[in-house]
């Protein structure tokens, strides 16, 4: 059920800022990449020593560039290996598999104005959205917050796309985005898009709702890295497997290691594709995803195995 994969070569690696690297990828079969829409991401399969490791990254280049795809990766301090491998082991000329693009953060083309907001490495999907809006000749502006001047990656590319419409907020200069004023008094038909840290996304959504913005005009994307946790036991009713999820694997990865084909798309708790039905749980479901509603969580009948776990006991899944 995993989406079709493409084999690519890492053509170029650029260090953009402390802890942020850009990778340019080209197909090894020489064919063109498909065209994607602004805001799309791909899942990289990384050859870590003991097991394949899959991480989602937003495509940041020109959506119409069919020879080269680009992603930028921030090294996560508490990485379980994916971003660390890309920063320490990956070399130009290496080959890896990637998934086809998926877009969970698409533009609303009926909008009359678009406000794009990026926090840190969240600039990556915003950049491809900005490119698409620039190509369409749409009315848009970008608000980009980052830690210190040297972390403002891709500012030159952004400025070239929309001269005078890129606003910078540099944390080391004590600048920050005030969402209540950013979202106030905007004309009817404005859409808001944000990718950044959880607290920043939540603050913007709250400000929008307080100003009466409807949900259909507030768009956000966050990817979560699966956190480790205590080991727990799993039984799969349809495939008849019983195994233990170790502390350093996600439930989804442990299921895949058993050779069971489970659905997934983003692997970051955002898309909902990997949802599994909980038959029984002797223990507490620890939900980390951004997908399930409060009611669904309370029902105890669903789990997103890419990021969520069980605390203690045994989890029985209809898979």
């Amino acid at each position: 059920m995993s989406s079709a994969s493409l084999n690519v070569e890492i053509r170029r690696i650029r260090d953009l800022a402390p802890g942020i690297r850009e990778f340019s990828l080209s197909r090894t079969d020489g064919d063109d990449f498909p065209i994607y829409s602004g805001g799309s991401h791909i899942v990289l399969s990384l050859p870590l020593s003991d097991r394949p490791h899959r991480n989602p990254y937003s495509l940041l280049g020109d959506p119409t560039d069919r020879k080269t795809w680009r992603v930028a990766v921030r090294k996560q301090e508490d990485s379980r290996g994916g971003s660390r491998w890309l920063h320490e082991q990956a070399r130009e000329g290496m080959r890896i598999d990637i998934s086809a693009p998926v877009n969970l953060f698409s533009l609303n083309r009926l909008g009359r104005r678009h406000i794009l907001v990026a926090g840190g490495i969240g600039i990556t999907p915003i950049l491809s959205q900005a490119r698409e809006l620039a190509r369409l000749g749409a009315d848009f502006e970008v608000h980009y917050a980052y830690r210190a001047p040297e972390y403002g990656v891709f500012v030159d590319e952004l400025e070239a796309l929309a001269p005078g419409r890129i606003h910078h907020y540099v944390q080391s200069r004590r600048e920050q985005i005030e969402f209540s004023s950013l979202l106030a008094g905007r004309p009817l038909g404005t859409h808001f898009y944000i990718c950044g840290p959880g607290g920043m996304v939540a603050a913007s959504m709250n400000a929008g709702k307080a100003l009466g913005w409807p949900e259909s005009h507030l768009h956000s994307e966050q990817f979560l890295a699966p956190t480790g946790g205590e080991p727990f036991d799993v039984q799969l009713t349809l495939s008849g497997k019983a195994f233990t999820v170790p502390s350093d694997l996600s439930l989804l990865e442990a299921i895949e290691q058993q050779g069971v084909d489970a659905p997934y798309l983003c692997r970051g708790g955002a898309c909902g594709q990997c949802e599994l039905e909980v038959v029984d749980a002797s223990g507490e479901l620890i939900h980390h995803d951004l997908y399930l509603s409060a009611e669904e969580r309370a029902s105890g009948k669903k789990i997103m195995p890419c990021v969520s776990r069980l605390k203690g006991g045994c989890l029985t899944l209809n898979l």
């Binding site: 009926l110 009359r112 106030a184 004309p187 009466g212």
Partner: protein
């Protein structure tokens, strides 16, 4: 009479204020004392603009009485005039605005189409059918919309074909679909009945 109800046929909920909004624009084109009383006696927070389409006479309208002090009341005597007033209202409107349309389907869906050109999404508009049940009918042959149709069969104002009025409704066009009823046997047109009073 008519065909079975189709999924596209609008079902209008009781009109209520959406109190998550911070500005409100209400268009009405029919009298409904109970609705006016219910809505205006308990207005939402934020600004309220009422655009009222009504005949030019001296009668008192239920919509101009009991208006909250803060409401802006604008009167129009033709739909074209009302659409101009609403165009201006949408032009200056801000995010947080909710739009409420109450009247004939012909009028409310024309306003809806206008709102969509301003990038308004469906969760920002509420519709209620008031007064006449007359239908706007889109001819699937010549693409003309015949308005104010009360009968189940109508002569297209564009091409003259006898159209059967279906329940199939297009939100984009703001009209019900009408297709030629005597395409198989030309001239064999059943008597029209009043179906949409």
């Amino acid at each position: 009479m008519s065909t079975l109800a189709t999924k596209s046929q609008p079902i209008y909920a009781e009109l209520e204020w959406d109190r998550t909004g911070t500005h409100h624009i209400l268009f009405v084109s029919a009298e409904d004392a109970a609705l006016a009383q219910r809505l205006l006696s308990n207005p939402p927070g934020g600004t309220l603009t009422l655009v009222h389409l009504r005949p030019a006479d001296d009668s008192r309208s239920v919509w101009s009485q009991n208006l909250p002090d803060t409401a802006l009341y604008l009167e129009a005597h033709t739909l074209a005039e009302a659409l101009e007033v609403l165009r201006d209202a949408f032009y200056v409107a801000q995010m947080g605005t909710r739009i409420y349309l109450a009247g004939s389907e012909d009028a409310i869906w024309q306003v809806s189409q206008l709102a969509e050109t301003f990038g308004v999404s469906r969760d920002e508009i509420r519709h209620a059918q008031l007064g006449t049940k007359a239908r706007p009918v889109f001819c699937v042959h010549c693409r003309t919309i015949t308005r104010g149709v009360h009968t189940n069969i109508v002569s297209c104002s564009g091409c003259g074909r006898s159209l059967f009025v279906r329940d199939h409704f297009s939100r984009r066009l703001g009209a019900y679909m009408g297709f030629q009823i005597d395409a198989e046997v030309p001239g064999e047109v059943p008597a029209a009945e009043v179906a949409y009073p």
